[in-house]
């Protein structure tokens, strides 16, 4: 059941706290970066009038849960926050390269392996 109620957007620190307690994630550093990305993304969408999707707390929770499963925030982001934000192919690419990749990048995996 998804209930919707208007509340003020909490500060990033509070968002991290809440997201962690809801999802059970433990990596605070990673979650705080995710929060940062989600906030940037919401801002980017607003500024560029990408309005056919949504970015917010709920996408963040989905993303965190997915990352807990896959272990790869980048890959999870593609199927959660990015795809939920817009359906336009070019807009997605823009979000990925302007907002997501500077923080979470697929290359880090390559380097590690």
């Amino acid at each position: 059941m998804s209930l919707v109620r208007d509340i003020e957007l909490p500060s990033p620190e509070v968002m991290v706290e809440r997201a962690m307690s809801v999802t059970g994630a433990t990596d605070e550093y990673q979650v705080s970066q995710m929060v940062q990305v989600v906030n940037d993304m919401a801002d980017y969408c607003r500024k560029n009038s990408i309005t056919d999707g949504a970015v917010g707390m709920r996408s963040l929770l989905d993303w965190i849960v997915s990352t807990e499963i896959t272990g790869d925030p980048y890959r999870s982001a593609l199927y959660t926050v990015i795809s939920k934000a817009t359906s336009d192919e070019n807009d997605r690419e823009a979000l990925i390269s302007a907002v997501l990749e500077p923080i979470f990048s697929p290359i880090r995996r390559k380097k590690a392996s």
Binding site: D40, D43, N48, S49, E89, N90, A94, A98, P102
Partner: protein, 761 residues
Amino acid sequence: MARVNHKRVKQLLNEKRSKITDRQFFTSRILAGHFEDMAVAQTRRYHYNRRVRVNIIWNPKYGQVAGTDNQYICINAGHKIVTSVRGRENRYWTVTGLFAHELGHVLYTDFLAAQTYANNLDRYRWYPAAPILKTVKDRANEAALWDYAKASQDNLLMLQIIAHHILNVLEDGYIENRILNNFPGTLGYALETLRASQMKQMPTVTELIEMEETENQPIFYSILQLMLSYAKYGVIMYGDEPKTDERVQVVFSLIPDIDRALLTHDARERFDVANVILVRCWEYIQPYLEEMKEQQKAAAAAGSSADISEMLKGALSKIAGATGIGEGSSTPVSDAGGEEVSATATARKQTQEDAKESSAEAAGVGDAESSPETEAPKPEEKNREGGESDGAGAEGGSVSGNISSDGESGERRGASETEEGRIPLQHTDHVSAPEGGTTERNDDYAPAPYEGAAADIDRLLDKMAERAACEQLENERLQELNEAAQNISYGDIHSGVSIVVNRMASVDESYIEQYKRIAPTLLTISRQLQRSLVRQLQDSRRGGKQTGLLFGRRLDSHALHRNDGKVFYKNALPREVPQLAVALLLDESGSMYSCDRCTYARASAIILYDFCQSLNIPVMVYGHSTEGASVALYSYAEFDSIDNDDRYRMMDISARDSNRDGAALRFVAEQLCKRNEDVKLLILVSDGQPADTGYYGTAAEEDLRGIRKEYQRKGILFVAAAIGDDKPSIERIYGDSFLDITDLAQLPSKLTAVVKRHIHI
């Protein structure tokens, strides 16, 4: 705000045999836009509201790699640092690394405070405070420094440059550190790659000493280089030199201060450290400055006009891995203060250990202070051997990268592109005939390795592909870049333009007369177009039963007697036609006067206006041109007309001055946006490209495309009617909403037809 097509960037990046060259790729607007977009997305969270501009140039001869003045980032993609890397993708990473570095400056460097620092130095004052002097020697140094600075204006100038450079070294280390911590993704990765390649080029202490001897390089130089090496990477490349070398020792003694500078968020602390370094190293700096003076005098005698400050700057720029920061006038982003964690902590720790060790050693030997006072560098023979191997490449610390395989390895020759060493045709009488030759088989053939084999073929393939594409290149590039850059974001670049909206308060009698004279013929066209429509509109509003249909779902029992099969009927529910609002924007630039363009434009405005009025469609008619530096808009008809004289106002439509389409388009679109009709149609009649001072060419086209896209998102339908010679350019700008009017006489009817098409019934 429209955006960059990031997908296109990636496509271009990954094309194996690309149609455009690297140079074209890196200097294209789309890549710059790609970085700008990234900068915007990543800086906004710091509430950094200035827009960062990125410019990428390609100038192999220009010494500087990248620079920024806090608003404008300039990257030289033609620099050897970039071109020595093979492959477009790797080069892209290098450029991104440079970008990340400069973005770091934009975000974290306090340019304003740096100015204050310079101003204070100008008045022979320390900023923020005088350095803490611990030893007698430091005190003496400080006094000597000020004496020297006060001696002449040139001295002060040089001192400032040195201070600026030391600051730059500290700042570089600090910002790279923060970027690595805060942007672990692509930016961090790219910076990491760049740093790795720069680190390889860092000369070791041994090489530095060698350079001091062979090129008469001052010792201060080496110290600066080592400091940079430590600030950036946390390591010092000792080479073959023992850790007791005086240069290393000087840097060791400064390590706690440098660390303090690297980790604090407060720029003033960095200034403080720069001051300390100035004082502590004064005994090295002074001879260096004196020598620079000598050199300048010699150069001046030889006829060179170079200023001493220019010379010094030139000399300092040779330090490897240093990038210049320009002058800027803004403060860094505010951030929660506190200490930063070093990204190169482990390497740093190692060096610190080394420092402790060596100072302990030094203490054991009896050399109380680690700062060296003896002037003679002892190990001289040793340098030679150590530096021989690769020291030659790193002259002055500048980047040395050979891409072409011109070095001959073993007996093989590297293939080269140009013709060389061919024997010209000669007349010969006989050929040699040696005797007693045998045939042997050598199974142990071990070829001398030639790495260039694959690369040569690669080059060949590249060339073939390039040639094949060469014919289309010019055309395609224009098109490609235009298409690709379609979404380059401009924001509201017109916000600074003053817009004047002109509207006749009352209509002149003569206009009314003229209108009445020509109106009947024009209005018949409008009426014809209305006729069919009015009927349909009424039907659809009223609903009702339509009988006598050839096919349908319901049988009309009253019509069954008919033999022609028209026996079906349909029940149409009454429904409201979606509401429509129309805005017409006419180009009134000077070129409209030829070929009766503005006359046709006037006629179409009149017809369209009448058409819409009779169907109760709200309509707005505007013309645009310029008046001096401001954009002039001419309002002919508004949505809510007070008097009913708008139709006469339209007689005033004529050709005027230049046109700054973007501002006018934005204005009208904004007006239209406020309407609450379902369908908003913006019709644009224009004969060509935007043309105003400082507003023309591809950039202006990009702006128009951006505006179009932006307002399309807000639900405005664009129709651009092209009536002049510049149809292709209008089509390029407005894409699918382009309406080709080849025959001017058709303009009025075609335009009205467009409106009609949008009244979906």
